[in-house]
């Protein structure tokens, strides 16, 4: 019976041991959301998370940039079906080809930003605010402005086309899981974007913050936003703040090519880091999407320059921007065609900017763009300042050494917009200019050989075509029926 006593004793001990401890099993790889941002250091971790979220393939990691070049007429496709060609073909409906990844992911980023901002307020309210915390607050406000600016351009009509039409749901707090938000007007969204930018700018330092947002990134976004709002005075002021402060400098012609194999160059006002084992998308990276077919294993020749882009660039065969172009799949000895862009693999030796082709940073805003914004804003001021306009333009235009510099007499808006296309090819620019200006877009359908028919749009479109903005996806409408009433017209 002695043995039995021992057994009973063991059972007794087990029974009496605390159940609550035994049952409190916490995850080992995540923390309780409610208490995960309590200090300035926590805010830093959250800010890093936000930046990383912006490197997603749904956003600045790839698709958001491809969107603007594929739809804007600067890209062509050689064959249908390789991937993302629905953007080029405008093959959109609310059930298929809705490209809802933009909507879903950008709102996921908004959640992170709103959560950080709410928690920063709590830390401040508890009297634990610091200058560093204000820095994160400024970064978060600026990030929110950028994300809403991008959302409203994807889903809403251009500001200067119909600002009273519907933009996107405008949420500034963490949204309750049960909420069914509806869309605010384009104007309301723009107003909030401006408010966030204006509130955020003074909180941030003016020193360079590699991989993060600083004061000048805020100013650069202001310049972009004001240009979209046709507020040329404010756009010029923001751009000139950056130019005049001199923290950033333009690449010389002989350094321009090398800038694509270096991180955080002198023009990078806002650059997001694509590190290996972080945002690096490997074989599905932006760099791979632009490589010539079969250039390396996995390169499927998704997108290349359109004939129109190449013609534009060929105004000067000695233009330094040819240096980053490679022969595409249609190139022959007789008729070479340099349609593939190597910006995101670190140039022709494909070492990226850190040694690996696909782990190449994305330069979200460069100083070159700011000069061109300044040029356009100066030209379109209520009383145009053509001197400034040509001066700013020529700083970039000189990258085509054989072209005559613009003069007060020769400068036109087309010259500036063409220069933007040449300079910012593959950087997610062209389409937004076309939308904002209401210009026609011609798509290079005849490049596809053998020819196919594209039933989803005409060869030439402009912003009156309903598919120039994306539909609200069926999945959102299923969960949020109220927004179903607010579908973009035509879908």
């Amino acid at each position: 019976m002695k043995k039995n006593k021992i057994i009973f004793a063991i059972i007794g001990i087990l029974l009496l041991s605390s159940c609550e401890d035994f049952l409190d099993v916490k995850p080992s790889n995540s923390a309780d959301s409610a208490t995960s941002i309590l200090t300035v250091d926590d805010a830093k971790v959250a800010m890093s998370g936000i930046m990383r979220n912006m490197t997603s393939y749904n956003y600045y990691g790839r698709n958001f940039l491809i969107y603007a070049d594929a739809k804007g007429g600067d890209f062509a496709i050689a064959s249908a079906g390789r991937g993302l060609d629905g953007l080029y073909q405008f093959n959109h409906s609310q059930t298929s080809g809705s490209y809802s990844g933009y909507w879903d992911h950008l709102y996921q980023c908004i959640l992170q930003v709103n959560n950080l901002l709410e928690n920063i307020e709590k830390i401040e309210a508890a009297g634990n605010g610091t200058n560093q915390l204000l820095e994160y607050k400024g970064q978060a406000l600026t990030a929110r402005a950028l994300i809403y600016f991008d959302l409203v351009r994807l889903y809403g009509k251009p500001y200067n086309m119909d600002k009273t039409s519907l933009g996107v749901p405008l949420e500034l707090k963490v949204v309750d899981a049960a909420a069914q938000p509806t869309r605010a007007t384009v104007e309301a969204v723009y107003n909030q974007v401006v408010a966030d930018l204006v509130a955020g700018a003074p909180l941030m330092s003016k020193s360079i913050q590699k991989g993060y947002i600083n004061y000048y990134a805020n100013m650069a976004i202001q310049a972009r936003v004001y240009l979209h709002m046709d507020n040329f005075t404010a756009a010029l002021a923001a751009a000139e703040t950056i130019i005049n402060d001199g923290v950033y400098s333009l690449y010389d012609n002989d350094k321009w090519y090398d800038s694509w194999s270096n991180e955080f160059g002198s023009e990078s006002i806002f650059e997001i880091a694509m590190n290996e084992n972080e945002g690096d998308l490997g074989g599905s990276s932006l760099g791979y999407y632009l490589l010539p077919l079969g250039h390396i294993t996995g390169a499927s020749g998704w997108f290349m320059a359109s004939d129109y882009y190449l013609d534009r660039l060929n105004e000067d065969p000695t233009d330094v921007r040819w240096s980053v172009m490679a022969e595409d799949e249609t190139s022959t000895d007789v008729e070479p065609r340099f349609g593939s862009c190597m910006k995101y693999v670190g140039g022709h030796d494909m070492k990226g900017d850190k040694g690996k082709a696909s782990a190449t940073n994305v330069k979200v805003i460069r100083l070159s763009e700011i000069y061109l914004i300044a040029a356009e804003a100066a030209l379109r001021l209520p009383s145009p300042n053509k001197i400034k306009a040509k001066d700013y333009l020529n700083e970039i235009r000189k990258r085509a050494p054989a072209l005559e510099p613009a003069t007060e007499a020769t400068i036109t808006l087309e010259m500036i917009i063409d220069e933007k296309s040449k300079e910012l090819f593959t950087e997610g620019n062209r389409y937004w200019d076309m939308m904002r200006l209401g210009w026609q877009i011609e798509l290079n359908d005849d490049f596809i050989q053998p020819a196919i028919s594209i039933p989803h749009r005409d060869k030439i479109i402009d912003r009156t075509f309903y598919k120039t903005i994306l539909p609200i996806a069926q999945d959102e409408i299923d969960a949020n029926p109220a927004i179903g009433e607010q579908q973009n017209p035509g879908y």
Partner: protein
């Protein structure tokens, strides 16, 4: 103990009787000829006279009247009466009794007998399991248990099966039953991480050697399973492993070899290369002619240009002098021959298994040990599985009151697999059916070098690339359980079990720098180690006593604690220096991850049973569970059941009804629960995976409901069990109703919140059904027995309540390709296919037609209903139900002397299956560069074939085929000869010459014959009713020999 008392009594009293002759003999089992020790022999009509057999099955009875009749009996065998007829030697072979009501069955926390158990349970005995040529036992259960559906996702060796007992009771939490081996809950399902990488699974149950299994009990209603509380809502599968038999030690050796030369059924068999060329040409001609307004000549030229563009580089060129397909001619250097990819990628699968088992028992010790090796080389050349298992079951009595039982099972398996879904590059099955043209060759026609570029549309050269990757999942599973039983009083037993179930899965994945999955990282190797430990401690106190002869009382009290923990370590290396070394050690860039997760549960349990005169039975159980998967407020759940049964046949008024030999009515009602699948579903969590610039990055990853609670099932069950004509026909008719409430559901939420969905207890599902099991001995005499059984189930599974009445549209999770769209809608099936209603093909144009199902202006009327040419104009609706009207099995056994033939069929009547492959391989012009199925060739619309079932093929990116629609939905009716087993016992007089006590040779076949209503793909679909590009199952022919020494 009882038996030995009886024996003593028998012997004592026997000596006093008057007698004339002495009778000796041996009692053996008809099953395998082994001796039966302790069998009872009584002399009919002579009170207290008889004997019992010894360890060798031998008996002696002194002084028996020459005209006496002897009664031979042993538990679990049919009692025989044999007249002595003055013989001195009487050898008796007893038949095992598979239908008797006193058959012992394993139930929750103990055993019961079929006639007294108050819950709903089905038993599958070892005979049905042992010869089935499958690495895991689940395949052997198909069609044997009413109400149970078994599906397999893939024909890859070593993949998981999915079991549904009585329908679907949950939308989000698991629908898999609980597995209990020898009284201890164990790990089941998919082990390791490979499914996240290449969509292939490793079945944890494959670590059980089917030959070690003695019986399987499936617990179906609450009365049977409520004692397992929160894990039991989806039924419980109790597996008992073998024990030794008293008597001489038995050594059993079994060897079998099986081959699988072919698939079990049609599987989108590809059209020939010439047919594909014709379709390709036609598709572009049609585009030119009908959609681009070009002439026949120009259209033909453009089609030829497409062909030439794609295939000139492979050594083919195309001409069509009269601009039609009739004159389409293939030229070029390789003209006349095509590469046979089927032959390059598939082979005849070989399955072999070797079992050695030694078992025996004495009065105090009982042991069973085995070691087995199984090897399966799959149909696809890159798929291998092998396993070695060892088991020791040992029971030792110490003194009179203490008994120790130790069960140890070790299994080591290795699986090499491949990507098993619509992953375009990596799946050989998909490649041969959809991507690889016969005009693609593994080598360049001009240089002879291996072809390494993508051929087009994700076709890669597997002959080259299969050498550029490798992977395996090595599983080492160790289960040990130690039980002590203390017989404190004869009526009061204490049993305490501690079990440790540990599986260690090592996943390895390698891609060379040349492989398209490894090129961007200059080679990549991933090693993952997943160690899952389940610790269960369970202590029960069992009291059983009979009062005043007629009142039998049983009480069980218990306490249980369970801890589950998984430790995960991952090391990844990229930038590899050489293709010869596939190790992380050599890599230039390293990445690592390691963390753990788990859950715990503590429970108190109790059961009370009362039985009056073996006529009226009542029982009740109660269990309280507390789980870490729920917040402290909601963590505790109470689960209970009540049940009763009535042996009508024992009533006096039944004594005149001769043709009814047994009749019993039983009923039960109970409540059990299901836990959320997620360990931390009630916590809103911030994760730190979003590293940025080598700094940790935090992201809110979940939005949780802190009040998350149990899913609760309310189950009632009513059954009638009967036996007719002296149990020649036996059967059970059972009806059940299962209301599952507070179901966990990922409620889709506006994505403006930053999330797609949140988990809530919101839904309700009802499952109700009827189950019939019938068994009959058609012929039964000394040399010939023929028996047959049938199981049939009808289950209706309906969503009864949803969050705010709001429909939920969801996609089948299988394979990550969102292949089937379903809707949860109140009043509709739990597997209601939701999509567009295809109206077929317009006869004159070959265009797709769609029923509008809305108020839009129709383009035309089809069958009197508004229809459109443009699927964007049509609305979705519920198209059909996956659940069959009736399903089950038909089993028949024929035994003639030493020869036995057993057939088991499975069938399904009603319900739809969804074709997840035809959107690719019977496409009407979206994916141009792909090859098509024979079905597409035969049934596509052409001006010559206007009554075609499938539309005209036009190369204009038509998205009709991509819509989830009734076009891909087909009737699921089928019947299949699942298993056939032909066995022959070699006569003893031959085997004894070589000192073998028993020898049996057998043939076992699997899936040898199938009839299906829709004949394009295998009708054995997955648990969501779909079939995609997962490897199908094959026809297996197995030959085996079993020897006992």
């Amino acid at each position: 103990m009882k038996k030995s008392i009886l024996l003593v009594l028998v012997l004592l009293l026997g000596n006093m009787a008057m007698a004339q002759v002495k009778v000796t003999g041996t009692v053996t089992s008809s099953e395998d000829g082994s001796p039966i020790p302790y069998a009872t022999i009584l002399v009919k009509g002579v009170r207290g006279m008889g004997a019992a057999t010894d360890l060798d099955g031998k008996f002696t009875i002194e002084r028996v009247s020459p005209d006496a009749v002897l009664i031979f009996s042993y538990i679990g065998f049919i009692t025989q009466e044999i007249p002595v007829n003055s013989r001195a030697i009487i050898n008796v072979s007893l038949e095992p009794d598979l239908t008797r009501l006193d058959e012992v069955m394993v139930v929750a926390y103990g055993t019961s007998t079929k006639g007294t158990f108050t819950g709903a349970a089905s038993v599958v005995n070892q005979k049905s399991i042992e010869d089935v040529p499958s690495v895991s036992f689940e395949q052997a259960l198909t069609g044997k248990v009413a109400g149970m559906q078994i599906t397999t996702q893939s024909g890859q060796a070593g993949t998981t099966s999915s079991i549904r007992v009585r329908g679907i009771g949950s939308m989000n939490a698991s629908n898999e039953p609980l597995y209990v081996i020898d009284g201890v809950p164990v790990q089941s399902g998919n082990a390791g991480q490979m499914s996240d990488y290449i969509y292939t699974t490793s079945n944890a149950m494959a670590s059980i050697n089917p030959s070690d299994i003695a019986s399987i009990t499936v617990l179906k209603d609450a009365a049977a399973s409520a004692l397992y509380g929160s894990r039991a809502a989806n039924g419980v599968i109790l597996i008992s492993t073998k024990k030794g038999k008293q008597g001489k030690p038995t050594v059993k050796f079994k060897a079998s070899v099986g081959i699988t030369p072919d698939w079990a059924y049609n599987n989108w068999d590809p059209a020939s290369t010439d047919e594909n060329i014709e379709m390709y040409y036609e598709m572009f001609v049609n585009a030119g002619l009908y959609y681009e307004g070009r002439t026949q000549e120009v259209s033909s030229q453009r089609a030829l240009a497409q062909l030439n563009k794609r295939f000139n580089q492979h050594g083919y060129s195309f001409t069509a002098p009269d601009h039609t397909a009739n004159s389409l001619t293939v030229g070029g250097e390789r003209a006349g021959s095509y590469y046979d990819w089927e032959d390059a990628l598939f082979r005849t699968a070989v399955y072999q298994t070797y079992d050695l088992a030694v078992s025996g028992a004495t009065e105090t010790t009982n042991y069973y040990t085995s070691i087995a090796y199984t090897n399966e080389s799959g149909r696809i050349k890159t798929n291998e599985f092998d396993r070695i298992t060892g088991r020791v079951n040992l029971t030792q009595k110490i003194g009179k009151i203490v008994e120790f039982t130790t069960n140890i099972n070790i299994a080591n398996s290795n699986k090499e697999g491949f990507n098993d879904t619509r992953n375009l590059g990596g799946n050989p099955f998909l490649q041969t059916r959809n991507l690889l043209w016969g005009m693609y060759w593994p080598t360049h026609y001009d240089t002879g070098e291996p072809y390494t570029n993508r051929y087009g549309s994700y076709a890669y050269n597997p002959v080259f690339y299969d050498n550029e990757w490798d992977n395996y999942s090595k599983t080492l599973r160790l289960s040990a359980s130690e039980a002590i039983t203390v017989k404190i009083l004869p009526e009061l037993h204490l049993k305490s079990v501690l079990s440790y179930d540990n599986s260690n899965v090592r996943d390895h994945l390698y891609y060379s720098p040349t492989h398209y999955n490894g090129s961007s990282r200059n080679g990549r190797v991933v090693e993952m180690n997943t160690q899952t430990t389940k610790l269960v401690s369970s202590t029960t106190l069992n009291f059983n006593k009979t009062f005043a002869e007629k009142h039998k009382v049983g009480v069980l009290l218990g306490w249980e604690a369970e801890e589950n923990k998984t430790d995960y370590v991952r090391a990844e290396g990229s930038d590899l220096p050489t293709t010869a070394l596939h190790t992380v050690n050599t890599a230039g860039v390293l990445d690592a991850n390691a963390y753990y997760w788990g859950n715990t549960m503590v429970s108190a349990l109790s059961r009370a049973e009362y039985n009056y005169d073996d006529r009226y039975y009542v029982s009740a159980s109660f269990r309280r569970d507390a789980s870490s998967r729920l917040a402290p407020v909601t963590r505790e759940g109470n689960f209970w059941s009540v049940a009763g049964s009535w042996r009508i046949d024992k009533e006096d008024f039944m004594s005149n009804v001769d043709f009814i030999s047994s009749l019993r009515l039983r009923a039960s009602y109970g409540v059990n629960g299901t836990l959320p699948t997620s360990n931390y579903g009630w916590r809103s969590l911030t994760t730190y995976r979003d590293k940025y610039m080598e700094l940790p990055g935090g992201t809110i990853a979940t939005v949780a409901d802190e009040n998350l609670s149990w899913e609760t099932n309310y189950t009632s069950n009513l059954a009638l069990e009967f036996g007719l004509m002296d149990q020649r026909i036996t059967g059970t008719i059972e009806v059940f109703n299962r209301d599952s409430k507070d179901l966990l559901q990922y409620v889709p939420i506006s994505r403006v919140t930053g999330f797609y969905s949140t988990l809530k207890n919101v839904g309700e599902i009802n499952n109700k059904g009827i189950e019939i099991e019938l068994f009959g001995d058609i012929i039964k005499n000394r040399d010939l027995t023929w028996s047959a059984g049938i199981t049939a189930s009808h289950i209706s599974s309906t969503v009864t309540e949803l969050y705010g009445g709001q429909n939920i549209i969801w996609y089948e999770p299988t394979g990550g390709d969102s292949r089937t769209r379903f809707i949860y809608k109140e009043g509709e099936s739990t597997l209601a296919i939701y999509g567009l209603e295809w109206a077929g093909v317009e006869r004159e144009t070959g265009k797709n037609l769609w029923f509008l199902n809305n108020e839009e202006t129709p383009d035309l009327m089809v069958d009197g209903r508004p229809a459109t040419y443009n699927h964007n104009n049509a609305d979705e609706k519920i198209l059909g139900d996956v659940h069959p009207t009736l399903f089950g099995g038909i089993n028949t056994n024929l035994e003639w002397k030493s020869l036995s033939v057993a057939l088991s069929f499975t069938y399904k009547i009603g319900g739809y299956t969804y074709d997840a492959a035809s959107r690719d391989c019977a496409d009407d012009g979206y994916y141009w560069e792909r090859t098509m199925s024979k079905e597409q060739y035969k049934h596509r619309w052409t001006p010559e074939n206007k009554d075609a079932r499938l539309p005209q093929r036009v190369a204009i990116d038509m998205t009709d085929v991509l819509q989830r629609s009734s076009r891909h939905m087909h009737p699921g009716d089928y019947i299949r000869l699942k298993n056939i087993n032909i066995g022959y016992n070699i006569p003893k007089r031959l085997t004894q010459l070589v000192s073998i006590s028993n020898a049996r040779v057998y043939f076992a076949g699997m899936n040898l014959w199938t009839w299906a209503k829709h004949d394009t793909y295998d009708p054995e679909v997955n648990s969501y009713g779909s079939k995609g590009f997962e490897v199908p199952i094959g026809k297996t022919y197995t030959f085996g020999i079993e020897l006992s020494f």
